[in-house]
Amino acid sequence: MMLLIQVAVLVFVAASGAAVVLTRDTTSQVIGLSFYGLLLALMFLIFQAPDVALSQITIGAVALPLMFMLALAKIHRNEKQRAKLDRGSSSSTEKAA
């Protein structure tokens, strides 16, 4: 029975890890990464490493995705600003032409 659970959680971790890699949209990739971190913590728990599981939950499922999310928010904001600036400059050149 224990072996069955172990195999199942290993398969889940492998599948979600592959899913994170294959996701192309960065925002959903971070959500997937968080889910993958939770599954990894579950795996550590099932393999009798509760200390590592706790660290994994706090770092892998919370802190790491949070930092990615904040960095992505910053990047998207910058991109939006740049796009707006580009639009502004192109319209002004059209007027000049």
């Binding site: 200390d51 599981a53 706790l54 706090t58 770092i59 919370v62 928010a73 600003q81």
Partner: protein, 258 residues
């Protein structure tokens, strides 16, 4: 073209590495096979020698506490690096003022009252739970690192509740950085205590107490508290550095409305 060259690179490296990988897989020990004697040794002596029921914590904060001191320093330097890279410069301020209005539109709507009440109500239990994990590191799974990160997420709940002023007040407080520095300094200080009393850095020199009670295991508990202080301070200031980047504009926008 780029895709094709990438596939070519993959094919070549797979051709070389796959047989090596398969070869190494053949030589792996059986699933669950345990080779070394150290784990068994630690399992049998830790409870008697250190009065700690959690062997992992005993390894991290006693037998190999120097390693942990190194890890704490890594975190400390990483947080300093983040704060240094994300510090505000004069030019950035001007950019922000120009763009504060247009960014306001794209921001998410304010949280509902239900979300506010639920998250604010969770702050207290979360702090208690974090302290519990920190203090019981020598008895049950957990310890200074895990508990410290849990404590550091408490201000985030305040942020999720939409109370930006309070969030800023907590995270930008001078006590956060002071606590981080004090934590790592006290960790090394406990180490020097062992050096002076028993001629070995980070030697467990305090009375060990009763096995299984919160106040036990000598310096392991003290080092747990130190690392909790360092870790929670480090994470809060790192989170603050990151969030500050996106926060400033919203704060200005809020003030404008009022």
């Amino acid at each position: 073209m780029r895709r094709r060259s990438r596939l070519l690179l993959f094919a070549i490296s797979a051709l070389v590495l796959l047989p090596l990988f398969a070869w190494s897989m053949c030589d792996l020990p059986q699933f669950g096979y345990y080779r070394g004697p150290y784990g068994d040794l630690l399992n049998s002596i830790t409870v008697y020698e250190r009065h700690t029921t959690n062997v992992v914590t005993a390894v991290n904060f006693d037998f190999r506490a120097v390693d942990t001191l190194g890890e704490e320093s890594i975190l400390f330097m990483a947080v300093i690096g983040v704060a240094l890279l994300l510090r505000r410069t004069a030019g950035e301020d001007r950019d922000r003022d120009d763009s504060s209005k247009e960014n306001e539109e794209s921001d998410a709507p304010p949280p509902s009252d239900a979300v506010k009440v639920a998250t604010m109500g969770l702050v207290g239990p979360l702090v208690v739970f974090g302290l519990y994990i920190v203090l019981h590191g020598q008895v049950t799974p957990g310890g200074g690192f895990q508990g410290g990160v849990i404590l550091a997420t408490a201000p985030l709940l305040v942020y999720l509740a939409g109370d930006l002023q309070t969030f800023k007040k907590i995270t930008s407080h001078a006590a956060v950085e002071f606590g981080e520095a004090l934590g790592i300094g006290a960790f090394a200080g406990v180490g020097f205590l062992g050096l002076f009393i028993a001629n070995a850095f980070l030697r467990n020199v305090w009375p060990l107490g009763t096995t299984g009670s919160v106040i036990s295991s000598g310096t392991i508990l003290a080092l747990n508290l130190c690392s909790a202080l360092a870790v929670s301070g480090g994470f809060v200031s790192a989170i603050y550095s990151f969030l500050e980047q996106t926060l400033e504009m919203r704060m200005e926008g809020d003030k404008g409305h009022r």
